[in-house]
């Protein structure tokens, strides 16, 4: 598998505290990695380092030259005073032809929103627009930072479903910070638990049983995760539906 980004032993220090402590992570082509961790665990910082807009104090980051990265940030509050159409927002600072816009709008189901002003869009629509923007230029890697954080449950479900579709239909890697592990459990290939250092990482089914995962998120979370798993050889007491 081709490696597109790898960070080895990176450390980021702010105000004498290690935000990231000796973190190593690598993203391969066709990967789907979900990073989990409590607030302030350094998840966003790790993304920033990997994308190359923050240089860690220690450690090395190797990125494929000219790697095309699409970034989907957290939801934004759109300023009412700034009049801008969705289409214009999509193409702001981007070189893109009409055909590609059409295709991406179809893919992310935002065709009917293109002529609307951004500030009237709902939370879910806005997230789809951000996703659409990140797809412009045919990225090899999508980086998402808690993309569905402020959506309601059905909005989250719809968003992750769309993300899965895009992951299946395009050849790209996904690196995502998200608390909604249960929603991507079936698709994500690898889970990384971060609390300044990497506590545990691996396939979701294995990670959620890791003692480090349990100590980080508590028993409840670990048990809840167990419900979403497709395995059949574990013996949690909540796992009584089969």
């Amino acid at each position: 598998m081709t490696n597109i980004i790898s960070a080895s032993n990176i450390t980021v220090t702010r105000d004498n505290k290690d935000i990231l402590d000796n973190v190593s992570i690598s993203v391969n082509a066709d990967d789907f990695i979900t990073i989990l961790g409590p607030n302030g665990a350094g998840k966003s910082m790790l993304l920033k380092c990997l994308m190359g807009f923050y240089k860690p104090e220690k450690g090395m980051i190797n990125r494929t030259p000219h790697l095309r990265i699409g970034y989907v940030p957290q939801q934004f509050v759109s300023e009412q005073t700034l009049p801008i159409s969705t289409k214009r927002f999509l193409t702001l600072r981007k070189k893109v032809d009409e055909e590609e816009i059409e295709k991406i709008a179809d893919e992310t189901n935002i065709k009917s929103l293109l002529e609307k002003p951004v500030h009237v869009l709902s939370g879910g629509e806005r997230q789809r627009v951000l996703l659409a923007r990140s797809l412009i230029g045919n990225p090899e890697l999508l980086v998402l930072d808690e993309p569905a954080q402020n959506l309601d449950i059905s909005g989250q479900l719809a968003f992750y479903k769309l993300l899965e579709q895009i992951y299946q239909s395009r050849s790209l890697s996904i690196l995502m910070v998200s608390h909604d592990l249960h929603m991507v459990m079936a698709t994500t290939k690898k889970v990384v638990c971060l609390f300044h250092h990497i506590c545990c990482s691996g396939e979701p089914q294995i990670v959620t049983k890791d003692p480090e995962f349990v100590s980080l998120f508590g028993n409840d979370m670990a048990e809840m995760m167990a419900v979403y798993q497709h395995g059949h050889n574990h013996t949690h007491e909540v796992h009584n539906h089969d």
Binding site: P73, Q74, R93
Partner: protein, 275 residues
């Protein structure tokens, strides 16, 4: 001042008016474009405070015998950096800090100007005196205003993207903190070159009212800037006319015209607008 002007010949008056019109239109253009960012980025209070601190700059300029435009810019830049430094300390909220700095420096500025031996027309600095704009001031406006407009248009898309979503802009390699400093610098230029026209106390309204009135008419950021400029020009021309006709201070007359345009446009556009 206006009385003296009236005693001179008609051609002289015409010259004054033409200069006033050119100056006013230039200010309307610069303030219209810059003002959009003031409205979008909620910098209204900041721009007002910056203008207040300009009086101290004028006092310094008189004391040190330096060009007012230059001394105002320097004092405004100092003000801005002092503010950033205080913000980093995180003891008070920004609006509290702005209140302290703005009114503190305005007060010290007024006292300094009053104490200076030279006879200075404080009134004209506070409220503007567009009918006494000279050639030198026009050059300052041309060059300063031209610089502001060029800088804004060169960075237009990046500025808009970072206004909509700062993280997204950063991820797409927009140098956000550099552009923030640029905006601040441009603001000091706008303040410095337009003091003579609208006066310290009313610069912020010049920046805010025209874009606010233009908002309801526009569906794109560029349209809003263009409408803001047009509204500003209408206000400046009618303001100069009334100011000359009724011998009222130019700044308040222009701002009153702006407010009137806003008062007419806002309910009208709100009524007819569907989305």
């Amino acid at each position: 001042m206006a009385i003296i002007i009236r005693m001179k010949s008609i051609t002289m008056i015409e010259q004054f008016i033409i200069k006033a019109l050119i100056a006013g239109i230039l200010v309307a253009l610069v303030a219209g474009c810059m003002g959009c960012f003031v409205v979008w980025r909620r910098m209204a209070y900041f721009s007002d405070s910056l203008a207040h601190s300009a009086l101290l700059g004028i006092a310094m300029g008189v004391m040190l015998d330096v060009n007012h435009n230059l001394s105002v810019m320097i004092s405004c830049i100092c003000f801005a950096f002092f503010l950033i430094w205080l913000q980093r300390k995180k003891v008070f909220a920004t609006d509290t800090l702005l209140g302290i700095l703005a009114h503190g420096s305005l007060a010290v500025g007024v006292i300094t100007i009053t104490l200076l031996e030279q006879r200075m027309d404080l009134h004209s600095y506070l409220f503007g005196d567009i009918l006494t704009v000279g050639d030198e001031q026009l050059w300052w406006l041309f060059i300063g205003g031209g610089f502001v407009l060029t800088a804004l248009s060169l960075n237009w898309s990046s500025l808009i993207l970072m206004t909509i979503h700062e993280d997204l802009a950063m991820a797409e390699s927009v140098r956000v903190s550099r552009l923030e400093i640029l905006l601040m610098l441009l603001m000091t230029i706008v303040v410095a070159v337009s003091i003579k026209i609208v006066g310290i106390l009313l610069i912020a309204s010049m920046l805010i009212i025209a874009p606010a009135a233009a908002r309801q008419l526009s569906r794109s950021p560029e349209a809003m800037a263009i409408f803001a400029c047009l509204i500003g020009i209408i206000a400046v021309v009618s303001g100069i006319y009334f100011s000359f006709e009724f011998d009222t201070p130019s700044g308040p007359t222009i701002v009153a015209a702006l407010a009137a345009i806003f008062a007419i446009l806002f309910p009208l556009t709100n009524f007819f607008r569907k989305t």
